[in-house]
């Protein structure tokens, strides 16, 4: 399809502000009389607050107020709290102080005496599942979004039945299956049964959590560091205890969220509560270490997978069990996504998935870039390589034979069944990637040794959902002829809010410099959109912008017909005019958009937004209602048919050099091909592919939480101890491409692409490490220099096979 804007590079409107420093992030805002808020964090991993004495602090000059959990709406465990009287992890906020400056607030926090009664705590899910094991919450140890808080203890026999290093498998809290698993294993030529461990770790957003709030004319104004915008409004309003219509939410820029700021988070509401208590604006900004505690983390797994392979590599049966480390609160559904990821990547002929989400005394786990899929694929892909070796198959070929095409399926946890795909071209992604990387030649270098250095090559894949539907679009043509594209999705930094806006301009045949994107502030009247997460924006909001623009187009044609005679079908759009199809160059048979907007205002009704569709969300209704009478309003719910699940897939190839004397890895080559439909914005696509690959390198080789299990404290609460990769760790000229096959269920053919590149890269790197070591499986990630050294020297690893939150 030949587009004027879609698939072309452009400069998103916020880029200049960012590179010149003009962009204002949450902590850059100030308001008259503003107070600063500081937190008192729990010094214990689990305790009960028995007494708080803030009298000395309140006597200090400049201290205005102290707030505790008792001042706030009650949040039932295991949901994450704003403040708490029962901290369930080291660093959880217990109380907040507001003072005229941050130094005073900090000094005041130190003056407050908090008596704590220590309670049992636990760092390892399996320890909590053992009979009599400690629980992270005083009333339970198992919970997730879909599993009610409960206490689960497996039987000692479950543990005894697992041999040393094998995952015990007691009763799962959820499971699904399809096909005949036993028959599948019986028909297999090779059956592998392996355990694996994946690490929990922080998001490491450059901008720490921050929020500033004040109340004015019955409304609460909140500046918050957030990936999303209108989607965050209901949740934030709930934390504050107000109706969404009373909230003005401003989040124009976000210095990284990676899932941790996908929606409203509890601490974002603290300044609003403190502002209400004090009657003054309140600012809170987390320090780097505080971000580590009140931020979020990826959920780690302890898992076991049994896979049966036919002689040609086809997977006949796959049995997956995941014990998830949820952190101390509700956690996230990574463990469920792991099952879906495996089901689509390998299309097993029969499959069973079981999972149990277990609470540990560590910070809340939330969505982190490809939550579930991105840690799953790198755990299982090296095991696929083991089968390829045993079967004498090429490693691309064994993936290709199992890879989904458009007839493929993915298991949908909510619907409890295999769902069809809108389209999938993973075989093409593997083929194209193999060519881009020159796999046939490169694989000959596998195991080549030069001094202490050995070459490894690997291929990896990953999946994430790539689109949703059912949200609202809102555009407005003003009498000056400009198109205002109201985008409520948020701006986490991928520029997809702008890329998707161009779909509206494309539909209306607009010049891009005549378009204005309205974003970043509900005061700009933004529609109900999906949150900006989950690789979903490109697909989902290209649809909302398409339907809103299509509604505007219909109205333009109707107005022209009404003014100039004939029917709407007699007219079309060209050069920001409505023109007669039969006589397009006749000025008397045409209307400028500017004129049409004027007429729309005069006509009122649906044309000017006075009448609105019934099926739009109340947030969109309020936004469109506020704009009514200011131009021609295009507004619609995305009712475009979607009959299948939208996949985003990737194939990644890596060549590495491993120094067996130092355990150090150097990436020599990296190539990736995404199966993501039409590429909406090539520059954004490239920076997502590159950035996601950096994340993958971090996941594969560096990042993890380390906790001392005896004192329950983290060893890493800073950039230099958490160790996200630096550019010297990732300095490789990565080759990037896409399959470029348009998706049939998106009006411009796009699917999302931001997440799976991370898991695909981690998979490729880990497979390459394993390849360099002659097929050695670490069965955990990250793989650090000490692990490589131990493996190369034939020594035992320091960690126990199933240990988590460990070194």
């Amino acid at each position: 399809m030949d587009y004027k804007l879609v698939g072309k590079d452009f400069t998103p409107p916020d880029v200049v502000a960012k590179v010149t420093g003009r962009a204002k992030y949450t902590e850059d805002f100030r308001a008259e009389g503003m107070l600063f808020l500081k937190l008192f964090l729990s010094p214990l991993p689990h305790a009960r607050v028995t007494r708080i004495d803030a009298s000395d602090a309140l006597k200090m000059k400049g201290v205005v107020a102290v707030m505790t959990a008792d001042d706030l709406p009650k949040i039932d465990p295991p949901d994450n709290t704003m403040l708490t009287n029962e901290p369930v992890y080291f660093g959880q906020p217990i109380l907040a102080v507001a003072a005229t400056d941050e130094d005073t607030a900090t000094n005041a926090v130190e003056m407050i005496k908090v008596d704590l009664q220590p309670l049992p705590f636990v760092m390892d899910p399996l320890e909590s599942l053992y009979p009599g094991g400690p629980d992270a919450q005083s009333n339970g140890n198992v919970s997730s979004d879909t599993v009610k808080l409960q206490t689960v203890k497996w039987k000692a026999q479950d543990f005894a039945a697992a041999r040393e290093g094998q995952l015990p498998m007691g009763t799962a809290s959820e499971e699904w299956s399809y096909g005949d698993l036993e028959a599948g294993f019986a028909a297999a030529k090779v059956v592998l049964d392996e355990v694996f461990v994946t690490a929990s770790y922080s998001h490491m957003s450059q901008e720490t959590r921050s929020a500033m709030a004040y109340w004015q004319n019955g409304k609460c104004y909140v500046h918050g560091s957030c990936q999303s915008l209108t989607n965050a409004v209901p949740g934030l309003a709930r934390y504050i205890g107000i109706d969404p219509s009373q909230l003005v939410f401003i989040a124009e820029y976000c210095g990284g969220g990676f899932g941790s700021k996908g929606s409203a988070y509890p601490t974002m509401a603290l300044p609003a509560h403190m502002s209400k208590k004090t009657g003054r604006p309140v600012m809170w900004r987390a320090s780097r270490a505080e971000e580590y505690y009140v931020g979020s983390g990826r959920a780690g797994y302890q898992g076991r997978v049994k896979i049966g392979f036919r002689a040609d590599g086809r997977i006949t049966a796959l049995d997956l069990y995941i014990v998830q480390d949820c952190g101390a609160t509700t956690g996230y559904t990574d463990y469920q996504a792991a099952g879906a990821c495996v089901s689509i990547l390998y299309q097993p002929l029969a499959m069973r998935w079981r999972g149990i989400p277990v609470l540990t005394s560590t910070p809340s786990k939330g969505a982190q870039r490809g939550p579930g899929q991105n840690q799953m694929a790198p755990a299982i892909e090296p095991i696929i390589d083991k089968a390829a070796r045993q079967l004498g198959l090429d490693r691309v070929a064994i993936r290709r034979i199992n890879a989904p095409d458009s007839s493929g399926k993915v298991f949908d946890m909510r619907q409890k069944k295999l769902e069809p795909l809108t389209s999938a071209f993973q075989k093409e992604a593997l083929d194209k990637g193999a060519t881009l990387f020159n796999w046939e030649e490169k694989k000959k270098m596998s195991g080549q040794r030069k001094g202490s250095k050995v070459i490894g090559v690997g291929v990896g894949q990953c999946y994430h959902g790539g689109g949703s539907s059912g949200f609202d679009g809102l555009v407005r043509i003003t009498p000056d002829g400009k198109l205002h594209i109201h985008n409520g999705v948020g701006n986490l930094g991928t520029y997809s809010y702008a890329g998707t806006a161009r779909v509206a301009a494309e539909v209306l045949n607009y010049r891009w410099d005549h378009c204005v994107i309205e974003f970043g502030n509900t005061g700009r009247h933004l529609p109900w959109n999906l949150g900006q997460y989950g690789s979903l924006t490109a697909y989902t909001e290209s649809r909302t912008n398409f339907v809103a623009a299509t509604d505007a187009k219909t109205k333009l044609l109707e107005i022209a017909a009404g003014q100039l005679g004939g029917t709407p079908d007699d007219y079309s759009l060209a050069d920001e005019r409505v023109v007669s199809k039969s006589d397009p160059s006749n000025p008397s048979k045409s209307l400028t958009y500017a004129k049409a907007a004027e007429i729309a205002i005069g006509l009122g009704g649906k044309y000017s937004g006075k009448e609105l569709p019934n099926d739009i969300n109340p947030i969109t209704r309020r936004a469109a209602g506020a704009l009514a009478g200011t131009g021609l309003i295009g507004v619609s719910k995305d009712n475009i048919k979607r009959t299948a699940s939208v996949p985003s897939l990737v194939a990644v190839f890596a060549q590495i050099e491993l120094d067996l004397e130092t355990g150090k890895l150097r990436i020599l080559d990296l190539a990736a091909v995404a199966d993501c439909g039409t590429v909406l914005h090539p520059q954004s696509f490239h920076h997502q592919m590159n950035g996601g690959a950096v994340w993958g390198i971090g996941m594969a080789t560096l990042e993890r939480w380390v906790y001392d299990p005896e004192i329950g404290r983290p060893a890493n609460r800073s950039f230099h101890t958490q160790k996200p990769p630096g550019w010297m760790d990732v300095s490789v000229d990565m080759k990037v491409d896409a399959v470029h096959a348009a998706d049939p269920q998106n009006p411009v053919g796009v699917r999302g692409m931001g997440e799976p590149i991370m898991g695909g890269t981690a998979s490729a790197i880990l497979c390459a490490i394993s390849d360099a070591l002659g097929g050695h499986l670490f069965l955990r990630h990250p793989v650090l220099p000490d692990m490589i050294l131990n493996a190369a020297a034939g020594k035992a690893q320091a960690h126990k096979p199933l240990a988590v939150n460990t070194q």
Partner: protein, 329 residues
């Protein structure tokens, strides 16, 4: 539990060494000497160290720069690591130190970090840096040596109620180059060998160097003994930048006709001091510079190592690095 918010202190910014010494004399234990700040600000922001007076040494010109002397060079303690890494004099004759300086932290850290600060920095044991009341912090336990401790980065030598290691990259290089540390205090000046400058917990568990509160490290002198020798510096850390060494090695070797006439070698990240490997020097002396000798000295280097639960790999790593140093690659 409060981070990223310093407690207030009196800030002094003297422009002469004598003024700095007078301030140290006045405030004694309550004074904090500030060089590049990369170590200091961590302590301050975590509110674990709360000095009454901070003596910022950055304005003292006489503490900066590289000068040629009758027997080698003298480097002002406040000379930045970036300057040392690119200084022609250092690179030409004492490339070992330039290589080590270039491996510290990141460009930002090397631009602000100084040679004096790098060698005088405190240990990075995470338990200690977290403010826990361990032996080094004046308490009565070592959190890093319990059966469940997370001690991958800790010591394999010289434990004595403390398992912390010296984190400096330049310190082993200075030990290998047999550098002399020039120390001034209100009483005068003294010069000590680099290997005696660093002290372990058996000498004083609360300090990493012999510097007392009134002492100021003013300069580092590198004798010409190893000028233009065969140098080897290697640092292995998890990340290529902005990371501390798991183990590093610095060596200066004089080879004549393929035979090792003399070598001087030290390792960091394995003990609370840069570990001067005299045993390696003895084993290597008079041997041919080849793989067999490298293997031999590697084995010699790690004799007596006593690993903890998570740091056994350091034995292999140190053995390999020492072998590489003697092999020359």
């Amino acid at each position: 539990m409060i981070t990223d918010m310093m407690t207030p202190f009196e800030l002094y910014q003297p422009s002469r060494v004598d003024d700095a010494l007078a301030l140290l004399n006045r405030y004694d234990k309550d004074a904090w000497k500030l060089a590049g700040g990369n170590d200091s600000f961590d302590w301050f922001k975590d509110r674990i160290k709360r000095p009454r007076a901070v003596i910022d040494l950055n304005g003292i010109a006489e503490l900066k720069g590289v000068r040629e002397t009758a027997d080698g060079i003298e480097i002002g303690a406040l000379t930045t690591l970036a300057e040392i890494a690119r200084n022609p004099l250092v690179r030409q004759k004492y490339g070992l130190l330039a290589d080590a300086a270039r491996k510290v932290g990141s460009p930002q850290i090397r631009n602000s970090g100084t040679l004096g600060g790098n060698v005088a920095q405190d240990t990075r044991c995470w338990y200690y840096r977290d403010g826990l009341p361990c032996h080094r912090a004046g308490g009565n336990t070592c959190y890093a040596s319990r059966p469940t401790s997370m001690n991958r980065e800790h010591a394999i030598f010289g434990a004595n109620r403390c398992m912390a290691v010296n984190a400096s990259d330049t310190a082993p290089a200075l030990v290998a180059l047999e550098a002399k540390m020039v120390i001034r205090n209100p009483q005068g000046e003294r010069v000590v060998e680099a290997k005696d400058f660093f002290i372990g917990p058996s000498v004083d568990i609360t300090r990493m160097t012999i510097l007392t509160p009134k002492d100021l490290l003013s300069a580092i002198r590198i004798p010409s003994k190893f000028a233009n020798a065969q140098f080897y510096f290697e640092k292995v850390s998890d990340r290529e930048a902005f990371d501390f060494a798991l183990v590093n090695v610095a060596s200066a070797t004089i080879v004549k006709g393929g035979v090792i006439e003399q070598s001087s070698i030290a390792c960091g990240g394995v003990e609370s001091v840069p570990r001067h490997l005299k045993v390696v020097e003895d084993v290597a002396r008079g041997e041919r510079q080849n793989d067999a000798t490298a293997k031999l000295v590697g084995q010699a280097a790690v004799r007596g190592a006593a690993p903890l639960n998570y740091n056994q790999f350091k034995i292999v790593l140190m053995q390999n690095l020492v072998a590489r140093a003697i092999r020359g690659a």
